[in-house]
Symmetry: C2
Subunit: 114 residues, 2 copies
DNA sequence: TTGACACATTCCCATATCGGCGTGTAAGTT
DNA sequence: AACTTACACGCCGATATGGGAATGTGTCAA
């Protein structure tokens, strides 16, 4: 078996840096392909291909208007990534250390109560 | 050019489901390879290979003890993913809607003050 | 109709992948 | 020393990739 297709899930789709850049460029509203081509400095076909991948995993949606196609982001599709990573947030977020302290105190209180 | 190496960054390393499973298995403490093999139901060589990828991107670290190698997670390496995804959190987290409301109120107050 | 424009699709190709399988290597056991 | 255990590493093969380049398709303009 080879590596999983980029269109398998959002994790794979977003592993590609250019695809993340596209998301970023789409963060504050829809954009036609041409504008993305300019902004990313990539050839138009590659941008279209990246957009296709993003479409297939539901990260972007298209609106056709004349000969232009406006792509907009569907950030909701990123939730699975967020959900998975969130579990490890404790590693760098010291705010959780304080929660740990509180939990520890509660546990102590429990012990003392029994 | 082909697809970026899995060892390029954490995004690529974690795109592989089994590698995420390994992280999950390591979430609550270090484990020897054999235990991971059991838990994941994968062949030992593949687990070792996955671990190597995770090591190269700094997601896991090893501790040698006799003929065993205990791997532990370094969740901090996931921060880049979290940071990137967090920017889109607004899409699914309604809590941000309330923040938007607050910002709107502040803006209104600013307008009224001037 | 002809042409220009905005994209999408296709072909080509060098490359890295993941799993299967066999083998190396160091540590512990008898 | 011979054997076993716990891993790491190597080779193989089918496959999808991403960029380059060319071509196809639908829309608007003259």
């Amino acid at each position: 078996m080879a590596r999983a297709a980029t269109t398998t899930d959002v994790f794979n789709a977003v592993a590609e840096p250019r695809r993340r850049e596209i998301c970023d460029a789409l963060a504050d509203g829809e954009r036609p392909v041409g504008e993305l081509v300019e902004q990313l400095g990539l050839a138009q076909p590659q941008v279209s291909k990246h957009l296709k991948v993003l479409r297939e995993v539901g990260l972007v949606e298209v609106r056709e208007e004349g000969r232009q196609r406006f792509y907009r982001l569907n950030g909701h599709a990123l939730k699975p990534i967020h959900d998975w990573v969130k579990g490890y947030e404790r590693s760098w977020n010291e705010r959780f250390d304080r929660i740990d302290d509180v939990l520890e105190e509660l546990k102590q209180a429990e012990v003392e109560r029994s």
